[in-house]
Each structure stands twice: as C-alpha cells, then as structure tokens.
Symmetry: none
Subunit: 135 residues, 4 copies
C-alpha cells in the first residue's frame, strides 16, 4: 500500500474523536502521510488553540523517527543520547501523543498526533486513531 | 454564535469534497475559525502536496481580510494599492480559492481555502464549502 | 515503484554533472523523493553558494506541483492566475531548472533541481538528471 | 588547500556508506565546506526522514565550532558552561555524529554529519567519512 488514504485518515480522526469523548477530553488531531505531509486535521470544540501546532508536530515527529513521540522523549532528556533533538526539523515535540501508523508488515506509512489533554490521554487517543487507520 | 464548530467545519469539508468530485478535481481543503486558526483540513487522494500550505494560507488570508482571496489579489498587483501585501502575516495567498464564512448578519466567523485545481475550480469549491458551513 | 532509491538519485546527480561539464557550467544539483524530502545533493566546485538553497527549492517545487518549475513560473507572473504563489511552502522557486521524476506510467516519484548556471542550462541539466533517474 | 572539493566530499560519503553498511545501519550523511555550506548529501534507503535535517545540522555544528558535536554537547547540558547553545545559528545539534574535516596541519576545512543510527554508530560513520575526505 505505502500511504494513508483520505478515507483511512478520516477513520483515524473519527476514532480519535470517539476516544477523546469517552475520556471527556477535547483535543486537536492531525494525520500525516508517508512523506510526513499533512493529510487530515480536526480541532474539537473547546480544544486549546496552542495545541493545533503541537498535534501536527507530534504526528510529524512520530513519522520522521518511526516511533512514539514519548519514546523519543526518553532519549532527548538532559544527559540522554539525543538531548536537544527538538531543535531539528523546524521543531519537534517529544512528549507523548504522537504514534506512527504501521502496516501489518511493519512499514511506517504515516502517523497521528493528538494534543490538548493530558499526555496520557493524548497518547491513548493517538493510539486509537493509528489503529483505526489500519483497519 | 461567533465561531465555526467542528460539526460545521466538517460539513464544509464534506461539501468541498462533493464539489471537487463533481468537477473531477482533487484538492486540499482547509477551514479556519474566527481567530484564523486551523479548525479542519483534508487532502483528497492525488491532490498536490504543494497545495496543503496554499489551502491553509488561502483560508487564513480570507479570514484575516474578510474577503475572497481573489478580491485581495486584484489590489496586490504591481502598481496596485496593496502591492506586495503577500509579505505580511507570514505569507499570504492572494489568488482565488479562499472564501470567508459569514453569518446571515454578515459577521465573518471563519474561512475556507481550496487548492490543487484551477483557480476557478478552487473558488467554486471554497464557495460551496463556505455555504455549507452556514447551513 | 513509488520512490527514488539512493542508487537512482546518484545516477541522476552523475548525469547532471556530466551535462554541466559538457555545457561548461558548475551548478548545485538536488534530488528529492516522493515526499519532497532531500535524497541527494552535490555542489560542483566553483558553483554559487547562493544556489544551494535554490537547487533544493527547485526540486521541492517541481515535486510539490508535479511540473517543471519554469511552467509554474509562467502562471505566477503579475496578472497571472497564480501570482505570488512563491510565498507558500516556505518559499518556492518558479524559474527553470526544476524537473519532476516520473515513472513510465506518469507517476511523480521525486524531482531534480539545478541552480548556478543560466536558467536554460539549469533546465537542460535537470532534464538530463531526471531522465537518468528513471533508466 | 583550504576547502573540501566535490571529489573529496564524494569520497567521504562513499566511506560513510561503506561504514554504515558494515554496521548494518542506514543513515543520512552530509558534508559541509570551509564556509559551513552544504557540499554533498545522501540519504541511504530506509534511513529516517527526520535525520536529513539532523545530519546537515551536525555537519554545520562541527564546522562552526571546530569540534565533534558530542564534545560540544558535553558543554551544553543543564548547568554546563554553554547551556542552550542549541538555540544559536538557527538550531544546532550537539550529540555525537558530527566530525570536523581537518588538514594534516590541523586547519578545519569542513565537516561531516551522520544521522539515523545510534549515536555511537553515527559517530563512527562520520569519523570514517572525515578521514576519507582527507586522504
């Protein structure tokens, strides 16, 4: 396959909204494609304005490094091997809430980012979306 | 009221996709709110990657100046009263395809941008979306 | 296929250098992939420093809009339908020297940009490179 | 001499690719010249997209401060003498993988950056490339 279609991107956003409502959260949700370019985005009513950019950056970061943003963040702490990696690529976000979209074969074909709730909630929302993008 | 809800933003994007398919076009469609901040976005399959940014800028431009982007473009030509206004606000797009979302009372509560087809098609798609955002 | 491999990117750069030398030119040559991300780059000895960025932007522009940069430039002149499109995508270059890499089936899987000689030479160099990327 | 030629830059990249393959890694490799401007670049197939920018920044950082990026990183930790130097020069990268190219007389005439594998591997790859640039 190799890329996220509009239909799959929308399914991801739908699943993210459902999960957010289940958690009582309102977030921004972004989906990027295999080339890390924006494919779909929605800001739920009441979600932080400042989280628009963060949701998009989380999705980009997860695609660019093919891992959850929170995993990258463990490596970028002071004293860690990737300290200050956030200064690259026009600005990364390295706390939780960005999750790659992988095919069954493990190929990364895009990513989802959620921002606006707690990091734990954002991570669960992004995971639900990434799963839905592949169903 | 005063702002575009997620539900209205999605209705706008749905109408834009319908119009684009009717025209045989594939475009990027962006909706911004009353504060000119991104509310929703979709890139149709096959749409230009370069038009992601243009669709968002068209929507922002239409909201920021409360007029169709093509109208602003007439004023920004060499020798015109607003020549080079494109350099402001981080970069405006001043050709057709950006349309404000107005309430019945004429209040501007957001805008839509479409990019990826001819300027004429993009304008029709954005108009269809802006109408749907208010229904 | 869907993307430019390292081997094909290098073949493109080799062909560009050969063409440049045949023309007595020294240029910067950039290759981007299907996602408009840099794949390979070389600056020939004596080529303008200012053309590093232009070669990369030409390649990106040709990928993003799936056409030769010079063709886009015809549409972006004052009074033209895409006037000032250069303000999008972080800055486009719309004069000649950027050429998409297309498969036999017409799918755009990347692009080449050359900068540092006359626009005519840069265009010929980029065309030679784009051809070589597909052989 | 005073600068890295295209021939030497390509030899550096060749050596980097060989070293990467020996290590079972796929990385992005950048070479900058005496003026810290990009001279050559290659992204190996399968290398992280996010490492394009990091490889270039590592090479620039190593040239700008005439030391390995990992050495600079020891000084930029919280509490260190150069804390937050990453904010300068449009964004530095201060973990390992950037290595200056020095003449026999110790003059810095460029630098190499590698990104996409572990910091240890990237450092070895960049060292192999910097050596090859001087042979």
């Amino acid at each position: 396959m190799g890329d996220v279609t509009m239909q799959r991107a929308r399914a991801a956003i739908e699943a993210a909204c459902d999960k957010a409502q289940e958690l009582g959260a309102a977030t921004n949700i972004a989906v990027v494609d295999a080339g890390a370019n924006l494919k779909a985005f929605v800001r739920m009513d009441g979600a932080f304005l400042g989280s628009i950019d963060i949701a998009i950056r989380k999705a980009r970061t997860a695609r660019l490094f093919e891992m959850d943003t929170g995993e990258l963040g463990k490596l970028s702490q002071p004293g860690g091997p990737l300290y200050s990696i956030e200064h690259s690529n026009g600005g990364l976000i390295t706390f939780g809430g960005g999750v790659p979209i992988k095919t069954g074969a493990g190929e990364v074909i895009g990513a989802v980012g959620s921002s606006g709730s707690t990091v734990e909630n954002d991570q669960m929302i992004a995971e639900a979306a990434a799963r839905a993008a592949n169903e």
